[in-house]
């Protein structure tokens, strides 16, 4: 007579939940990149005006366009599943940093920080939603796993 114990189901479930979190994280990063990329591009897509003419609305977002180089210089790069970067191509718009932080003669137009502040909550909420959804689909209980 013997009593056998088989907990291999837990192992499979744990692996499935781990995979679910990895997938959710990847999707959340995609969403974040898309949101920030869109936000920054919108912040740089102001009215166009000819060179050597004053801006129609100085010191405010969206940044007005003269050549449109800054507007076209928004790039993103995926580092791995959990990390990505949205950046300005310095070769195309070396003056980006002065537009963002301002100078003595020009007010700052923080086109990147503003995009992040505006969308941060939406990104965090989406990540939370995706993780819960994927864990549930993998057969886990998000409340137990995430301690909610």
């Amino acid at each position: 007579m013997a009593i056998s114990f088989d907990f291999s189901g837990w192992d499979r479930k744990s692996a499935a939940v781990k995979e679910a979190i990895r997938e959710a994280s990847k999707e959340a990063v995609d969403f974040a990149v898309d949101q920030i990329n869109t936000g920054v591009t919108q912040n740089l897509g102001g009215e166009q005006h000819p060179p050597r003419t004053p801006s129609p609305y100085p010191g405010r977002l969206p940044v007005t366009m003269i050549s449109g180089n800054l507007h076209d210089s928004v790039r993103f790069h995926r580092i791995d599943d959990n990390r990505a970067i949205v950046y300005i191509d310095k070769n195309r718009a070396p003056y980006a940093v002065h537009v963002h932080y301002g100078t003595k003669k020009m007010r700052p137009r923080r086109f990147m920080s503003d995009a992040v502040a505006e969308r941060r909550e939406a990104i965090i909420n989406r990540q939370r939603y995706l993780i819960k959804l994927k864990i549930r689909r993998a057969g886990g209980n998000p409340s137990e796993i995430l301690g909610l």
Binding site: V97, H98, Y101, G102, T103, K104, K105, R107, P108, S113, D114, A117, R120, E121
Partner: protein, 166 residues
Amino acid sequence: MAIRRKYSVSDVQKVIHALIAKLTSATAPWSSWQAVYGYPEGEVFNFTKLLLYVDTPIKTGTLAHQGGRPAITMEIIVGCWNNGGDEGTGGVEECDIAAGHLLDLFGDVDVYNTTFTVTLGSTTYTNKSLYDHGIIITGSTGPRNIPVEDPLEYRREVTVSMIVTF
């Protein structure tokens, strides 16, 4: 709680500016610096002192809780700008000292000990602390080195995170 919900952006900016202005009016080494409300405009650069500017805060989130009105989280940029050159207003070292003082001020509970006077709307609040105004500092990061055009200018920015209750 003096911060008004509908005027939270300007009220928070005024309160933080009043706090820094109070320090620059009395305490060394703060008295060697000049507090500026908002981004420093061209004319401000005539001052001979290092500038501490308090930029417009940004709302970063909402903290909802049961049984009360939600608080909000905000971030505000406090910068230092030294435009007097190496011999005029202390150069890069002075700028770093100012940035260090800002980081320390907002990274320590001592920030609640400083009382200051500020007018919000039509009401003047005399000798109140940040805590009295419903502001809880949650951290400070930086300083970021901000590129400038003039080689004898130095600029740093510190970001202060806070919870604003109403």
